[in-house]
């Protein structure tokens, strides 16, 4: 175990997998200088410019070439820099990467990881702050991961690199500096799929992922002071998501809140809420609640940007309301 940052954890994951498997490589803009967030720092020294490839500003071809390179047996780690820029490469992600295995009748696989730094961070405004994970959960053929802890960022990224299908890998920009204990073991993997019980509690189930796990943890402290014992499920992987853990938790607490930074309308919280409503309506003692952002582009000015954030206070208010029932 070492205490390292989320960013270093991601960097280690790539390094270890590149050492282990010569077919793994990374590509994107400015990777040679460590990537915009330092998440490739030093890798070029060990692996050279062929395997840590600086690309032109050509998102469509960064993505499309990775599909081709994956089809012939390499394992590209695709850096999109900001999730927003992946929108320049959607045909390649959705029509090509996600569908090639199926359309070609299983003849080929598309093992690629698409790293998409997401979320609000330092007044980045409408084109550099989006959280679009819900989109990818809707697309057959894609795995979607969104880790919160440094350990998960290492273990899930390693699993994503070993995965034979395309993985949308969402790192939250506000998490880069977050520190935590991370196993040093080269073989430390966190499997894609299972959620992590971030906090055990008896009264309300809060399902969330990515940066919002930390916000939920703060909210749980506040709630505890009010005598409310929140259980927090950190999904980690959004597709497939851990229905078993969520259902078991809701069975226990009889209350569900889903929290995410993304816009609430059409967010992935709707899928979880709908699924629980379909299957567990009989156990619920309070209505399900979703907390997501208003359907508004993200403002630059901090007080306006902050308005779109889910805060511990909002979560607490929702929990208090649910406990009225």
């Amino acid at each position: 175990m070492s205490v390292i940052s989320y960013q270093e954890a991601g960097c280690q994951a790539v390094a270890e997998e590149m050492r282990r498997d010569p077919s793994v490589w990374a590509l994107g803009e400015d990777l040679g200088r460590g990537g915009v967030f330092g998440q490739y720092r030093g890798l070029i020294d060990e692996f050279g410019p062929e395997r840590i490839a600086d690309t032109p500003i050509s998102e469509a071809t960064i993505m499309g070439a990775s599909v081709g390179a994956a089809l012939v047996g390499t394992r590209p780690v695709v850096e999109m820099r900001f999730a927003d820029f992946a929108l320049c490469a959607v045909d390649e992600m959705v029509n090509q990467a996600a569908k090639a295995r199926f359309m070609f009748g299983g003849q080929a696989r598309v093992p690629m990881v698409i790293r998409q730094p997401s979320g609000m961070w330092r007044s980045s405004a409408a084109q550099h702050s989006q959280s679009l994970e819900a989109w990818y959960t809707h697309i057959p053929g894609l795995v979607v991961a969104a880790p919160y802890t440094p350990a998960d960022n290492k273990g899930l990224l390693k699993s994503a690199i070993r995965c034979d299908d395309p993985v949308i890998y969402i790192e939250h920009k506000d998490n880069w500096a977050l520190e935590g204990e991370v196993p040093d073991d080269d073989d430390f993997l966190v499997p894609l799929g299972p959620a992590r019980l971030a906090r055990e509690g008896a009264d309300v189930t809060l399902v969330t992922w990515s940066k919002m796990v930390g916000v939920a943890e703060q909210a749980a402290e506040l709630a505890a002071e009010k005598g409310i014992d929140m259980e927090i499920v950190d999904l980690r992987t959004l597709w497939p998501w851990d229905q078993d853990m969520v259902f078991a938790s809701v069975e226990k607490t009889k209350r569900l809140m889903v929290v995410h930074e993304a816009v609430q309308v059409g967010g992935f919280g709707a899928e979880i809420a709908a699924t629980v409503a379909e299957h567990m309506a009989h156990v619920l003692v309070a209505p399900i609640r979703r907390l997501g952002a208003p359907r508004a582009p993200i403002s630059y000015a901090k007080p306006l940007e902050d308005l779109l954030r889910i805060t511990p206070a909002k979560i607490l208010a929702t929990a208090l309301e649910q406990m009225q029932r």
């Binding site: 077919s23 062929e50 032109p56 469509a60 071809t61 499309g64 012939v72 090639a100 199926f102 009748g105």
Partner: protein
Amino acid sequence: MPNDAAHPSHNIDRDRLVDLYRTMRRIRAFEEAAEKASLDGLVGGAVHLSIGQEAVAAGVCANLRRTDQITTTHRGHGHCIAKGTDPGAMMLELFGKEGGTCGGKGGSMHIADFEVGMLGANGVVAAGIPIAVGAAHGAKLMGEDKVVVCFFGDGAINRGPFMEGLNWATVFKLPVLFVCEQNGFASTTHSDAVTGGGGANARAESLGLEAYEVDGNDVAAVDGLVGDLIPRIRGGGGPMFLSARTYRLKGHTSVDPALYRDQDHAAAQWDVDPLVRAAGELRRLGLADSDLAAIDSAAAGEMARVAETAEAAETPALQHAFADIQDIGAPVWESSS
């Protein structure tokens, strides 16, 4: 920049031309059978015929090894056959039947055959370009000795990935031959009307590629020129570009009467049909009419049989609709549903 190297047909060895002719004839026969099946309602999805363009497919692929790879487009039957894909499996695919190249899940626009280096047709114009470039990039990283040929149409050169992909190939010095089939049309639109500047080759040259032009209806010329280029690309000469002037003798799809074309002009193009031209050349080289007829009827017979077989074949087992999606998180097939 090199350009338009002269490769007169009569330099070609007769046996080689016979082989090229046979390939073209098999492509033609395949597509005639596919067209009929489509018009008869036996093929569900769209079928884009490359009738008139066979010399490009045949002439290019004759110069590739099995381990070399290609990508193609919605109009890719010819490239597949020329690269070695079994027409039987292709026809099953068009019919949406078990045993199709993609198990009936892809159809005409998604034929792929990785065994022979056919990395996939594509339903999205120009989408095959970055994929081809990436396949070459992957091969280079793995130290494999491979050339990738990327086929696309004259309409595709107006999509961004065309430029991005060519630039990428130059920057990473990748072993790719880009082949632009200039058939004059992008769907119902004249390609020229929506293409600014000097066209495909000018763009390719501006991106640092050696760019060549060839009469794409002269199979010997295509073969000869590509025969020069491929070894140079294989030898590390970097990506190259080839424009093949040809003509789409049929409509955009099998059901398109293509009335938007000058009908006289279109009719006249049948006279320079690459098969007519190659047959003429073969006759000049002394091939007997009976030998030509034998090739033709063998091809027609083969493709009639594959169409018959395809018609009679079973549709895929339903559970394949849920197979090969992804290892985790795929829907579970329940026979009751």
